[in-house]
């Protein structure tokens, strides 16, 4: 089901109205609009937008939203288009509202440990600006070099460091939002604490553009940890042993900055890609980093835990180059898959205690459907990214079919969706969630009720209606 806001006027009238007020910030070049049908998930919407509005300031956003509101036109807010769930892709008859050019860092206050930014600021660009002062914006999604802070907020992005330093929600102090009627709302505050009224800042964080358009964010910044970074790479005979060793690290009450786990299929893929000799068939890889003044002591303790928990080999280094070499094995994972075809990255998250059980479910599903599902996990927080590789041939067949009769599609064979369906159900059954950090978008909408329940989903829809009674905000996404 794609929800379409029912417009009272024709698309061309809406475009004329936008042009009249926003001039060349309105783009209708078909090639540009075509590109907005997709994001980094590889999913393509059947429907191009009627226009792209490239907002340069808050007033532009208000103008576009007011026109949309008056005429019942859908608004799809979009940052850099790096989403993995189709959350910022165009829907029928919509205006895509790009925040990418609203990319100014408006203020940095080291004293208050905060920055005020426009939504189009690239995550890494903020950290780069902060680095000379010894500060960092800690949410670190894998996309941080290319994704916007507005997009990170929309999806409550996580990352490698979030088990230790928190997800995006924990880094957002306040927001300025353009509501669906074009009015401005300020949420939150510049203080670290505050309990005046309901926490709307948290409500907007992770709302995937369904409540309003974030036009400014006051974000928390953190001191870059002092001291060295210590890196550990360790191989285990299989993923179960590796998961048990990660559990032992947690049980020892050590909190590494990074703890990544790669299963056998992932390790094999990287070995093939890099041409590295296999340590042992079926081997899994664990990568750990510690930081702060006690990094070395913590790393030594962790290395010893991994060793006594069955590691085949453990390498520990505080030398940056050697650490980078250990990290490179993990970093090569996505390139190794992309060399084989289109990659569908999934994103389940289970309680840490069920990490090994979830890996076992993935293995079972992989065998049952006869497809490889190489999986990496942020083992520190139970977040797993199972990957499906779809051969280019399948995608092209599907593209050809789509050219004939365009429909929402990703070129994903049915068998993959069936396997993904089992995967999501297994995650929820194990006390987990459909999505740890990528969002629901269009791709996971059909499983939402599984997790929230019917009454829970209904309540969520009624909250959306308080903000967006006419349903113009990113319709067809999430709800």
């Amino acid at each position: 089901m794609v929800v379409v806001a029912s417009s009272s006027v024709s698309p061309s009238v809406v475009v004329d109205l936008l042009r009249e007020e926003l001039g060349d910030r309105v783009v209708t070049d078909p090639a540009v609009l075509d590109a907005l049908r997709t994001d980094k998930s590889g999913w393509w919407s059947a429907d191009p937008a009627i226009a792209l509005v490239e907002a340069r300031e808050v007033g532009d956003v208000q103008t576009a939203v007011r026109i949309a509101h008056r005429h019942g036109v859908a608004i799809v807010p979009r940052g850099a288009g790096t989403g993995l769930a189709g959350g910022a892709t165009s829907t029928a008859g919509c205006i895509v509202l790009s925040l990418l050019q609203m990319n100014r860092i408006l203020e940095i206050s080291l004293h208050d440990e905060l920055a005020v930014v426009e939504p189009g600021v690239i995550n890494q660009a903020l950290s780069d600006t902060l680095a000379p002062h010894g500060y960092v914006f800690s949410p670190d999604p894998a996309s941080k070099a290319i994704s916007t802070i507005g997009g990170n907020i929309a999806n409550n992005a996580g990352g490698l460091l979030c088990a230790k330093y928190g997800v995006t929600r924990e880094a957002i102090l306040g927001l300025t939002v353009v509501l669906p009627d074009g009015s401005l709302l300020e949420t939150g505050r510049r203080t670290v604490k505050g309990v005046t009224g309901y926490d709307l800042t948290a409500l907007f964080t992770g709302s995937e553009g369904t409540l309003g358009v974030v036009v400014q964010a006051t974000v928390r910044i953190r001191p870059i940890p002092e001291g060295p970074v210590a890196t550990i790479g360790a191989f285990f005979s299989d993923v179960t042993a590796a998961a048990a060793a990660c559990a032992a690290v947690t049980a020892a009450r050590v909190r590494p900055a990074v703890m990544e786990l790669m299963d056998a299929a992932s390790v094999a893929s990287v070995d093939r890609y890099l041409g590295t000799p296999s340590v042992q068939p079926g081997a899994a890889y664990v990568l750990v980093q510690t930081d702060t003044l006690s990094a070395e002591a913590e790393a030594a303790q962790i290395a010893s835990i991994l060793d006594t928990n069955g590691a085949l080999q453990v390498e520990l280094s505080t030398d940056p180059a050697a650490g980078e070499a250990l990290l490179a094995f993990r970093r090569a994972f996505h390139p190794s898959l992309e060399a084989l075809g289109e990659v569908l990255v999934e994103d389940v998250c289970v309680p840490r205690s069920n990490l090994a059980a979830m890996f076992a479910e993935i293995e079972r599903i992989s065998v049952a459907y006869g497809i490889a599902i190489p999986t990496v996990s942020h083992a520190g927080d139970g977040n797993l990214h199972p990957n499906f590789v779809i051969s280019r041939a399948a995608v092209e067949d599907s593209d050809a079919a789509a050219d004939a009769a365009p429909t929402d599609q990703l070129g994903v064979p049915d068998v993959v969706w069936q396997a993904a369906d089992e995967l999501f159900q297994a995650s929820v059954r194990l006390g987990g969630t459909l999505t740890g950090e990528h969002g629901v978008g269009v791709l996971k909408r059909r499983w939402l009720e599984n997790e929230l329940g019917t009454a829970g989903l209904d309540l969520q829809r009624r909250i959306k209606a308080v903000f967006d009674p006419t349903g113009i905000m990113n319709p067809g996404k999430v709800y």
Copy 2:
């Protein structure tokens, strides 16, 4: 204005209906009901409840709420009654629903670093149970020995450690809530991350009982930091110098576990109470604690910063007894005030960069109204607690007046409310908030619109209406 849900039947019929289903869990002893008119703020509601329901299980809560819902009777959820803003005091014709007997710790999972608790569990009791395993529940309001986790959630409680370890919201993974129609809602999850739907867990946290009744919480637990605790006590010539020194600590990117600042009036009060000799008239006190494996190095760095930033004397110790002695000076603050009269504890929070400016405002207001306002601050997060001491005589006069014609009252002289009013306005003007961690309750309701704005407040009321369309949940509080 006290909002009263309009009941369709007489109180005695409601009490009979409650008794029929809940038996001796329903209390109507006038002395018991009278005590529910107040909390630790010292404020007394004019109206006793029609009944107290002492819930022992989720079903009791559902039963009471269903009866209330059917007959339009107000429900006031209450924990240990340690609130400082009147948030859990009785309102006209209400049922007070006590969660104090729902005090079981249902599960502790060290592996998942979480606990599942009923709302009546005392904050400290959970940490005591966790301590042998090396874990702690980190929200640490000053009331932690006597306040419930349900109450902490209702007020999004902070504490001394929260600049480093986060407020209650950051410690809550999921909730089970009885909604105003008696149905059960589960929010959140057992995983560290997740972005399926709007963050209702955060919405309930800090909602002061206005949306539903929390009957179970899945809370995050944290390893007790390894290593020693180092404590620093330092005197400064005045509060401005002390605030500047605290700012210098933050600027050095050190993050102490505790950083408390006592102004001159506070120091003088403790000196009088303990009989300690005054270091110097007008002197202010800074207390800092560091923890983790790098505690000693961090403490040495901080002591040096305080020293070069004008400290009159700095004492640093990693010896527990000596550390306790330094802490004792701060601990004696509230007892020193209580020895003088009834204490009204305020709770503003400003951006750290405005800490000195807020102290200056407090001094200005103190002089203007001719009343002492001894103030302590969690300097790590800009939260200040200005205190008004009301002499017993004033309270008794007011009590006598109240006996004649009961009204909502605290025995607070008008001049104190005028001073408090200026204080709240100064805080909001400095980019701060009315309440960092105590909540709005009844006492700060009249200033709410100042901070949220008219449109913001209206939006909040509409969100409340989604959950509580008939307005039975804690009416007259916050909104």
